[in-house]
């Protein structure tokens, strides 16, 4: 018989060992960054084993001794969920990772628009549901100590002291390793490693005991099976409703228990680990429950009537004098209890600090002030207090409930409680139409019904609900009796609660969602959750960047720590192509930062804190909309400003152009005057000199007549020049009167050819008169003047041996095009820009026989007619294109 003190020593040594493991894992994780074996699929799978608490370690055997195989339902549910990981778990883990979810309350709050009330509701539900569960673990540890104490024949001990010391020790461990740092990912390497080790210990203990029972006592497999068939639980008699109902409950609780969510989703380092766990964890569960029935049967056969079947795991080896095995079993049970309590309190403290303490703190502060004080310290203190508080609560519950049968039933009661989150969780993951109002209604109804029908009656007869209410209903309303709602009696209490609460929960959730309209943030989050596999790009929720990068850095440092925050900021700055620690505060950056922070303090709180930084007040959805409106206004204003500055620019450019034109006009005027005096003086000089010779006389009549002809010719040239000048001046001043009439183009061309007469002599005209049948509304006299000029020009300048002029007319949309193309050498490109200027003559003066005003006049005429004339390069000769509007524009 081992002395009781040796057992205590073993327990303490074991705890010290766990401390060392956790510490080593933390050190290793901190040093190597990410150690392969530390984060292997195996460790992940083992960490899931916190599903098996002391309730399953000790209680399963007791359960089997009482009701046969029904205990298996508790494992079948998780098996179905795990093997079906592709359906739900994969999405849950992906969402958890991409949204940096920290707890099940954070998941619900984040999905439904980062809602604080929903976070509070789920946190309350979890605390109420899980605290008795923690009490149950304390009770199992106390009971196991009691078994040894009794066996040692010692006097009655103060077992309450055991529970108290255990609670204190667990609080210390959890605070040490659970709130060591405020990791941006909320992962706890030390704790995960410790619970993985504990998983091995509890499986090993149960397997060792099982092997001992089957082969050591029972005499082999066949004999054991025979013993089972001969035992009081031989009958295969299952309550159908309970079998299905409990399988469903355990499956639901596997997804929604805060501690399971913590290890499944939050502590998950790699999604691929889920694939391994999908078969490895069911295998672990099968191994854990393999020997349950043989142990129960052996205990029932071996131990005296009335011994507690919940403690068979300890009493069977003790009765067989196997003290080593008994100690191992004790450590296995101890492991189950402690690992559950540690992870559960971490998960709950995260929820309490993120969804109750921080929002409370934020709302107590004056709005408008910047975040002050060390938030990081605040969060850590809140978590430590929450851990201590939860364990104190668990201890208190254990003391007050008296640790009897009532407590043993709390496992399933707790399952039914947390399962209320299931409809909202699944709906939130797969249904975009799920809304905050629906989720709130469903959760509230489920929570209330669970409290009324299961939790409060479960506290014990007459404890919370008076017996009269249980039997007659509140205020004599029989249909509201806690265990017989709507007058339907005789259903198993667990099933009764599950049925009604799930019905109303799901129903109200769906109804509320159908009837309400989600707010923008909800819809945004809904899309990101439901379509998580489509890489939904983070939609922009922050439109205005009033926050300064430096302020944000200060705040981030307070939450995630200096080094981490600086790394985030530096990374963001580098991504923007900037050196240093201060990136531009873009909406993308604010959103990314918010996500980082939500990994530490939860989505709703992170959102509110960012809101305080960026806007100076905590942000509600309405505020967000206001921000969006404001941003839209600013955008509109800036667009207006831009338009205005564009207009100013245009005006300035027009002024500059006008100035340049004026300057060039002034220069042109000077040049024109110079040119015109030159053009006038040349014929004047010859007229004067020849007329002087004639006046002096002494020349023969033949010479006299020749000189007179020269004078007349020069005078004619002068007249023509002056006519042209006058014409040009009239055209330029816009004083010309146009006589518009509608006539076919052919007539005008024929008229021009006729008038050109001698000037087009020797020129072969190529026309397609059929194409010239275009009726044009214009001043045909003026148009003919242009044509005459062009035909005469061709006649004058075409230097081909057989000069030709092609005249082509056609319609092009709203315009009429008339091309005059000769087969000469054409005009060099560098001169093409000059030919329409006044007095521009490219060839020698004598041959031209004009003042070089022809094309200038043509241009003016075409402008008056609303068309234009241009030189057409690349036609194999000189080519001019006259463009006319088919219908005239406006008057004049």
């Amino acid at each position: 018989m081992p002395p009781f003190n040796a057992l205590v020593a073993a327990a303490i040594a074991y705890v010290a060992f766990l401390f060392a493991v956790a510490f080593a894992a933390e050190r290793r994780a901190a040093r190597a960054g990410r150690s392969a074996w530390l984060r292997s699929p195996l460790v992940y799978t083992l960490s899931l084993s916190i599903y098996c608490t002391a309730w399953t370690f000790y209680g399963a055997v007791g359960y089997a001794a009482r009701s046969g195989l029904e205990y298996l339902t508790i494992y079948l549910g998780p098996t179905i969920v795990m093997t079906g990981w592709w359906l739900i778990l994969r999405k849950l883990v992906r969402v958890g990772r991409s949204q940096r979810i920290t707890s099940v309350a954070d998941l619900i709050s984040s999905r439904f628009g980062k809602s604080t009330p929903l976070g509070v509701l789920v946190t309350l539900l979890a605390v109420v549901g899980v605290t008795p569960y923690i009490a149950l673990q304390l009770q199992s540890i106390t009971l196991s100590f009691a078994v040894f104490a009794e066996n040692a024949g010692g006097e009655a001990m103060d077992l309450g002291g055991v529970a108290l010391w255990t609670a204190a020790g667990l609080a210390l461990f959890t605070v040490l390793f659970g709130t060591r740092n405020l990791d941006a990912n909320e992962r706890h390497h030390g704790i995960v490693m410790a619970i993985a080790v504990e998983a091995v210990v509890k499986l090993g203990a149960l397997m060792a005991l099982g092997i001992f029972v089957v082969w050591g006592i029972g005499g082999g497999l066949g004999a054991t099976l025979e013993a089972i068939d001969a035992s009081p639980i031989a009958e295969w008699q299952q309550d159908h409703g309970r079998w299905i109902g409990l399988t469903f409950l355990s499956a639901a609780a596997f997804l929604t228990l805060p501690r399971m969510f913590q290890v499944l989703v939050v502590e998950n380092a790699d999604e691929r680990h889920l694939a391994t766990a999908s078969w490895a964890f069911p295998a672990y569960l099968a191994a854990m429950s393999l020997f349950t029935v043989p142990i129960a049967v052996t205990g029932l056969a071996m131990l005296p009537e009335g011994s507690n079947p919940d403690m068979f795991v300890l009493t069977v080896p003790l009765a067989e004098q196997q003290y080593g095995l008994a100690t191992l079993s004790f450590l296995g049970g101890f492991s189950s209890a402690t690992s559950m309590v540690i992870v559960a309190t971490i998960a709950l403290s995260t929820m309490v600090s993120n969804h109750i303490a921080l929002p409370l703190w934020l709302s107590l502060r004056r709005p408008g002030a910047t975040v002050s004080g060390d938030v990081r310290a605040l969060v850590l203190v809140a978590r430590r207090l929450a851990i201590a508080g939860l364990l104190a609560l668990g201890y208190l519950y254990y003391r007050l409930s008296g640790g009897g049968e009532a407590l043993a039933a709390i496992g399933l009661i707790s399952f039914a409680g947390v399962a209320q989150v299931l409809p909202v969780m699944i709906g939130g993951l797969f249904w975009r139409g799920a809304t905050k109002v629906g989720a709130g209604a469903g959760l509230t109804a489920g929570f209330a019904l669970w409290l009324w029908t299961l939790f409060l009656p479960g506290l014990g007869t007459d404890a919370a609900i008076p017996l009269s209410v249980m039997e007659q209903g509140p205020f004599g309303l029989g249909w509201l009796r806690p265990q017989a709602l709507f007058g339907i009696e005789g259903i198993d209490p667990i099933l009764h609660c599950t049925l009604w609460s799930m019905l109303f929960n799901t129903g109200l959730f769906i109804l509320g969602s159908l009837l309400t309209f989600p707010q923008p943030v909800e819809r945004l989050q809904g899309a990101q959750f439901v379509n998580v596999f489509e890489h939904a790009a983070g939609a922009t929720t922050w439109r205005q960047s009033a926050a300064q990068a430096e302020d944000l850095l200060i705040m981030a440092q307070r939450i995630v720590g200096a080094a981490e925050a600086q790394a985030i900021f530096q990374g963001a700055a580098a991504a923007q192509g900037k050196a240093g620690y201060l990136p531009d505060v873009t909406p993308e950056f604010i959103q990314a930062l918010e996500r980082e922070l939500s990994g530490s303090v939860g989505a709703a709180t992170a959102h509110a804190m960012m809101g305080q930084m960026t806007e100076g007040v905590s942000v509600s959805v309405e505020d967000l909309m206001a921000v969006a409106d404001e941003a839209a206004q600013i955008m509109e204003y800036s667009a207006r400003l831009e338009a205005k500055s564009d207009e100013l620019e245009r005006t300035a450019r027009a002024l500059r152009d006008a100035n340049a034109k004026l300057t060039s006009l002034s220069a042109q005027k000077d040049a024109f005057l110079g040119q015109i005096s030159h053009e006038l003086r040349t014929p004047m000089t010859s007229i004067r000199s020849f007329s002087e010779i004639l006046r002096e006389g002494g020349v023969g009549p033949e010479v006299q007549s020749r000189y007179a002809a020269i004078i007349s010719e020069e005078a004619e040239r002068l007249t023509r020049l002056l006519d042209d000048l006058l014409d040009l001046s009239v055209l330029e001043n816009g004083q010309v009167v146009l006589n518009r009439a509608e006539a076919p183009l052919r007539r005008t061309i024929e008229r021009a050819l006729g008038a050109a007469g001698s000037r087009a002599e020797g020129l072969r005209i190529l026309r397609r008169p059929g194409e010239e049948d275009i009726r044009v509304m214009t001043d045909h006299d003026r148009l003919a003047q242009v044509f005459i000029n062009l035909i005469a020009n061709a006649g004058k300048y075409c230097d081909s041996a057989r000069p030709e002029l092609r005249i082509e007319a056609r319609r092009a949309g709203e315009a009429v095009l008339i091309d005059f193309i000769d087969n000469g050498t054409g005009i060099a490109p560098e001169h093409a820009g000059l030919i329409f200027e006044k007095f521009s003559r490219l060839s020698d003066h004598a041959r031209a026989g004009g003042a070089g005003l022809g094309l200038a006049i043509c241009r003016e005429i075409m402008e008056r007619l609303g068309g234009q004339i241009a030189y057409l390069p690349g036609q194999g000769g000189a080519a001019f294109r006259v463009t006319l509007p088919a219908r005239p524009l406006g008057g004049a």
Partner: protein, 96 residues
């Protein structure tokens, strides 16, 4: 509302992968049916020992199937996306 048009025919490999994903979705259905089946056993004929053997046999079967599927499904995140999860479910509900 314009829906992204999925290809009508897939390469053999992608086709196999999608069917594997379908199989993975069916595993929990199979498990639920097999685990509930013993409820239909006539009372009094089979004992607890038989029930125990049956349940653990089903359990082993499910573990074996999951073990077979896991390497294919968990190969890489990219492969998982390729499997086209999320098509049809909820995407067209509120077109973006």
């Amino acid at each position: 509302m314009a829906r992204a048009t999925a290809p009508v025919f897939l390469a053999r490999v992608s086709y196999r992968r999608r069917r594997l994903a379908d199989a993975a979705r069916m595993v929990p259905v199979l498990g639920s049916i097999l685990f509930v089946l013993p409820l239909l056993w006539p009372e009094g004929e089979a004992g607890t020992a038989a029930g125990l053997i049956y349940i653990f046999a089903v359990w082993a079967l499910l573990i074996a199937i999951a073990r077979l599927l896991a390497p294919w499904l968990g190969r890489s995140g990219a492969a998982a996306e390729e499997l086209g999860e999320g098509r049809g479910e909820g995407r067209a509900e509120e077109g973006r």
